[in-house]
Amino acid sequence: MNIVNILEEIEKVDGEIYERLSPRRSAMKDFYSMGKKIAFAAAPLALGSMFTKAYGQTLPTAVVNTLNFALSLEYLEYHFYNHALLGTDVTFAYPTTAAKAAITTIRDHEKAHVDLLKGALGGSARAEITYAMTDFTAGGTFGDVYQNYLTFLKVALGFEDTGVRAYKGQATVLKGNAVLTTALQIHSVEARHASHIRQMLAAAGASIKPWISLGAGGIANDTGVPQVDPVYAGESLDVQAGVTITGINGQSGVTKAVAVESFDEPLDTASVVTIANLFLRTGSKL
C-alpha cells in the first residue's frame, strides 16, 4: 500500500488535507513512525485513525450514519464469506481451487472494507457484528446455504448486488465529501465481486450474465431466484434522467434488456435495511 499515494489522492479532492493534518503534527508523526513498525495488513486501520484525527469531529452526522450503515453491510458480507471458508458446519465442496480462491479474495476485500470503515469512524463506529449475530439461512429461506454450493452462490450474489445498490443509494449523502471517493472505490469493487459471483453461478449451470439483465417475462429479478426479488426491485428501469434508453437515437441494438443492463439502480436505505435484517438475528437487527 502506498500511503503517500493515498495522501496525494486525498489532496486532489481535499486540497486542505495537509492543512487539516498540520495542526496535528503529532498525528502525522505517530502515523509515520507506526507505519514503519506495523504489518501491511494493519495499515488501513492506522490510515483510518489518521483520517479521524485529521477530520476530527468535522464528519457530519449524516456521513457518520452512512459509513456505519456501510460498516454493517461489510460485517455481514465478511462473516458470510469467512464462514464459508472456515465454518465447521460447511459441507459443500468448492468445485475448483479457483472457486475457493475467488471466495477468499472477496472475503479479504470485505475484511479490508470493515477495517477501513472502522478506522475512518474511530470512536463513532457502530458495535461489532459477530458471526453469532447473523443467520445466513434467513430464517430457513436459504436453509442449505452452507450445505449446497449453488444456494451459497445465490445468497452471495444477493449480498453483492445489494451492496452495489446500497453504496449507490448513499452517494448523495456523501456528495462533495472526500469520503465519497473512498465509498465509490469500495462500490466498484463490490460490482467486480458481483460480476465474478455471477460468472461462478453461470459456471455452475445457471443462466445468468455478469451484469444485471432483465428477468424472464420482463421482471426486474434476473437471477431466477424469487426469494431475492427485493434485491432487484426497480432494476428494470429503462428511463434515465428523463431519457428513454431503449432504442435510443434509433439504436435498434439497444433493446430493453440492454437498457436495463447498462445502468445499475440504487436502493434506498430502508429497502437495504429490510434485506440486511433477513440475515441478522432478533436483537441484532439494524
Binding site: 489522492e9 453504496y167 471517493t181
Partner: protein, 239 residues
C-alpha cells in the same frame, strides 16, 4: 514529465511558461496526436495573456456539464472500441465471448447516446479515435485493450464523482460505473480467471489492495492515459 514527452505548440513558445506554478485555474491541454503520442502541455495561465482559439474539443470543468462531457468523451472512446471488436471479433473468441462483447458494445452505445441526449446542446462533438496500437485480429491484444479501457473507466468515474454537484448526475455516474466494473471483472476473468478484482495490478490507477479499494484517478491523469487512443485534441480548463 520529461521534456521530450512534451509537444510544445508554436503559440506556447515560451519555455518559461512550463516552469510557472500551476494555479487553480491552470490551463491543461491534451493532444492525442501523432505516433509517439504525447501529450500533456501544461502552462500557467496568465490573466493578461490572450490565448489563440484552440482546436479540438474543450472540457470545461467549471460545472457538472464539464464532468458529464468528460464521461461522454470516455464513453465515445469505449463505444468506438467495442463497435470495432463486435463487428469482427478475433477468431479465437468463443460464441459466448462474442455474445458478451456484443452486449458490452450496446451498453457503451447506450451510455454514449444517453450523455449525448442528456447534455443536448452542451454536448461536445464526436471524437476521432486512434486504435492503431491495437491488433483487432488478436484476442490477447483486444482483451488487453478492453481491460485497460474498463479499469480506466472505473477509475475515471470514481475520481470524478467528488466533482459532481447535482444529486441526479452523481447517482447517474454511480449507475454507470458499477456496470463498467462488471465489464472489467468479466474481461479480467477471461484473461486470467480470478483476477476480477486484482487490486494490486491496478495501483497505477489509484487502487489499494490493503484497503480493498478500486482505482480512482483525476481527469488530467485519465486523459493523459487515454490520450494515445484519441486523435481529437482535448483541451481541459478549470480543472
Amino acid at each position: 514529465m520529461k521534456n521530450n514527452e512534451l509537444e510544445i505548440k508554436d503559440e506556447l513558445q515560451e519555455k518559461s511558461l512550463f516552469n510557472g506554478s500551476l494555479g487553480r485555474r491552470s490551463f491543461l491541454q491534451f493532444a492525442g496526436a501523432s505516433a509517439a503520442g504525447m501529450a500533456l502541455v501544461a502552462a500557467g495561465c496568465k490573466k493578461d495573456r490572450n490565448f489563440p482559439a484552440m482546436d479540438g474539443t474543450t472540457l470545461d470543468f467549471k460545472d457538472d456539464f464539464g464532468v458529464l462531457n468528460y464521461a461522454y468523451a470516455l464513453e465515445q472512446l469505449e463505444a468506438a472500441f467495442y463497435v470495432k471488436v463486435a463487428s469482427a471479433p478475433p477468431s479465437s473468441f468463443t460464441t459466448a465471448q462474442k455474445a458478451y462483447f456484443q452486449d458490452i458494445q450496446f451498453h457503451e452505445i447506450a451510455h454514449r447516446e444517453f450523455f449525448k441526449n442528456a447534455l443536448s446542446t452542451a454536448a461536445i462533438g464526436s471524437l476521432e479515435v486512434d486504435f492503431s496500437s491495437i491488433d483487432f485480429t488478436n484476442a490477447t491484444s483486444v482483451l488487453g485493450a478492453a481491460m485497460a479501457f474498463e479499469d480506466l473507466g472505473v477509475a475515471a468515474y470514481n475520481g470524478a464523482g467528488v466533482r459532481i454537484k447535482t444529486d441526479a448526475y452523481l447517482v447517474l455516474a454511480g449507475k454507470i460505473v458499477s456496470v463498467e466494473a462488471r465489464h472489467a471483472a468479466y474481461i479480467r476473468d477471461i484473461i486470467s480467471n480470478g483476477s476480477f478484482a486484482d487490486l494490486n495490478s491496478m495501483t497505477a490507477l489509484g487502487a489499494n489492495n490493503a484497503g480493498g479499494l478500486d482505482g480512482a484517478l483525476t481527469p488530467d491523469k485519465v486523459l493523459g492515459i487515454a490520450g494515445k487512443y484519441i486523435k481529437t485534441k482535448i483541451n481541459v480548463i478549470n480543472l
